[in-house]
């Protein structure tokens, strides 16, 4: 990883051929309530894919199905060519899916540094007894990962809050730390659930920059949920639109913007 800010206006290094993940005919019910009905779409390697839709359209539930927190009753999730009916959360994490949450879900009692270090858990291999000694291999491992984490801290410009407990940080910074924690997992697919909710304009701009940088520098594929249409249209390569748990449109931002169903969903239909 490179800590130096990179010129992102240059030609993007994206290779958008391969399908990284696809969901096939997913349906999810909670008792009698249908959260998602028969939705399929794919996410290609290296792209920024937005999932949009009015409140209650099933966007977060979709992310939850992708990383195994929910198990859909019907349909399949295919990730890196592996097709499975259900995904366990830690398996998804091991496979390279990381995410952030709509309402920040940080470990409030821990420092920024420790929060981001938790993202490295899966990459740390030393066993219990080495950890108990904290010398030799365990210490080397700890330092090696600390170095990676420091790079992420530099990248997100949160050096000054390194050792503060995250519970006391302002909301915008918490969101940034959460992004850092997800990045520490070095994910292939990063799921962002409303990364800009509740932010002011400046914070939003920063966050957009970080998302673009992550996509450009690390080549991370990103799926994001966002309500700010301006942000969605500027950032994303392709957009999928959900309404009442069904997919109503899928395509580039321009295509979606012109889609009559989408306009109806957002503005209401004249009768």
């Amino acid at each position: 990883m490179n800590a130096e800010p990179m010129n992102v206006t240059g030609t993007p290094l994206r290779d958008k051929g391969e399908v990284l993940l696809s969901v096939e005919n997913i349906s999810l019910r909670f008792g009698g309530v249908k959260a998602i009905t028969d939705v399929s779409f794919d996410i290609r390697k290296g792209e920024i894919r937005a999932i949009i839709g009015p409140n209650g359209a099933g966007k977060t539930s979709m992310l939850n199905c992708i990383n195994g927190f929910y198990q859909p009753q019907e349909g399949r999730v295919v990730f890196k060519g592996e097709r499975r009916a259900k995904m366990r959360p830690h398996r998804a994490a091991a496979g390279g899916i990381a995410r952030t949450f709509q309402n920040v879900a940080l470990f409030k009692g821990m420092s920024t540094l420790d929060n981001i270090m938790t993202g490295r858990t899966l990459k740390m291999k030393r066993g219990f007894f080495w950890q108990a000694l904290r010398h030799g291999p365990a210490l080397h491992e700890e330092i090696e990962h600390r170095r990676v984490v420091e790079d992420i801290i530099d990248f997100l410009q949160i050096e000054h809050i390194r050792k503060l407990p995250v519970g006391k940080l302002p909301y915008g910074l918490q969101k940034r730390v959460e992004l850092g924690r997800a990045l520490a997992m070095e994910p292939e697919l990063l799921l962002l659930d409303e990364p800009m909710a509740g932010m002011n304009l400046e914070e939003k701009e920063d966050m957009c920059r970080f998302i673009l940088d992550v996509n450009n520098q690390f080549g991370t594929t990103i799926a994001l949920i966002e309500h700010d249409m301006g942000v969605v249209m500027d950032l994303s390569d392709r957009v999928v639109v959900l309404e009442y748990g069904r997919k109503i449109a899928d395509g580039t931002p321009d295509e979606v913007k012109r889609d009559q169903k989408v306009i109806d969903a957002y503005l209401g239909v004249a009768h």
Binding site: H90, A105, F107, D114, R120, R134, A138, E142
Partner: protein
């Protein structure tokens, strides 16, 4: 003026990741260790060492154990005393089965049995949490306490039903049994506590400790980071029970020197240790020491201190006052400083850091 971080630059991550990154803290720890190693054995009376210092060390270790479970992992246990009992009885069985092996080794081994039992009773923690888990650990407390009385194999079919601590030596110095001096027993306790605290500190500052705290703070997010909840929780139960077990073995072998162990490891003891952790500070190792010091010294201080000051107080009355005080203190701490003595200590250090110009 005495406590400054200014001018102490850290040029490696290793230095920054140290448990005591400040030079002053390192000096402080060295001074405390020196006092514990030299001053107390030389200047402390036998009474002080046997009824203040040894109980303090034993309780500290048990409190660290419970703190790992409750403070770091967020799982409440009301069965600490039972796990301590498992340690004591395992140690007793081990001394009978392997009389030739050094007693310190056996004490350390006996914790493993306790850890095993702890994992067993920790299994429900995957499905239940909070109050429910607290009740589940009561099952361990009452079942094990029952077993200590009803399974005569555990106490070698003694008529008295008590553990009899045999004499064991190291380099011909008696460590346990009637002829062991308080000083030797104190040194053994101190050594065990220092080494195990060091392990605990390493664990909570490493990957495992972070997993525990992640589970405590937001278990769903922890799971999505790839932390296996069951593993992390069972690991916490195992390590916690190991510490409790070693503390229990120390309690019988190095402090009580035998006796009706089944009575000792009662629910009251479980509560006392939980209170040490609360008052000392949840999720803080140094807090465990504070809490243990506070609660193990308080009864003795009331019993012997008040009469010495001229306040007439009987043994029974002192006990009642202790109960009331402990109850009141717990409530006070929860209201004023839920993070316990450890947080007060930190605030004190913070004040000292900027003293005398706080702005």
């Amino acid at each position: 003026m005495l406590y400054r971080e200014a001018g102490q630059y850290k040029s490696t991550y290793a230095a920054d990741m140290g448990v005591f990154p400040l030079r002053e803290d390192r000096i402080g720890i060295a001074v405390i260790l020196a006092i514990a190693l030299v001053a107390i054995p030389f200047f402390g009376s036998d009474f002080f060492i046997a009824s203040v210092m040894i109980p303090f060390l034993v309780f500290s270790l048990a409190a660290i154990g419970l703190n790992i479970l409750t403070g770091y992992t967020g799982l409440i246990s009301l069965g600490t005393a039972a796990f301590m009992g498992v340690g004591a009885y395992s140690c007793y069985k081990l001394t009978t089965l392997f009389p030739g092996v050094n007693i310190i080794v056996l004490i350390l081994l006996s914790g493993l049995f306790s850890a095993g039992i702890g994992v067993l009773f920790g299994l429900p923690s995957l499905r239940i949490k909070g109050f429910y888990l607290a009740v589940a650990t009561l099952a361990a407390q009452f079942f094990l306490q029952w077993a200590f009385v009803r399974v005569p194999w555990l106490f070698n079919y003694n008529a008295s039903g008590a553990i009899e601590v045999p004499q064991r030596t190291l380099f011909d110095i008696p460590l346990t049994g009637a002829s062991a001096t308080p000083e030797t027993r104190y040194f053994v306790c101190l050594g065990l506590v220092v080494v195990l605290t060091w392990f605990a500190s390493n664990l909570v500052h490493g990957k495992l400790g972070r997993s525990w705290m992640a589970v405590r703070d937001m278990d769903i997010a922890a799971e999505l980071m790839g932390i296996k909840l069951l593993n992390a929780k069972l690991m916490a139960f195992a390590v916690s029970s190991y510490f409790a077990g070693v503390a229990g073995a120390m309690m019988i072998f190095l402090w009580y020197g035998g006796g009706e162990a089944a009575d000792v490891f009662s629910i009251r003891l479980s509560f006392s240790i939980l209170f040490m952790v609360i008052i000392g500070g949840l999720g803080s190792l140094i807090g465990s020491f504070f809490g243990a010091a506070f609660l193990s010294v308080l009864p003795t201080a009331l019993k012997f201190g008040l009469p010495a000051l001229g306040v007439p107080i009987g043994g029974a009355a002192a006990e009642h006052v202790t109960f009331m005080l402990v109850g009141a203190l717990i409530i006070t701490f929860l209201i004023v400083e839920p993070h316990g003595l450890a947080r007060l200590w930190q605030i004190g250090k913070q004040k000292l850091r900027t003293w005398p110009f706080p702005y």
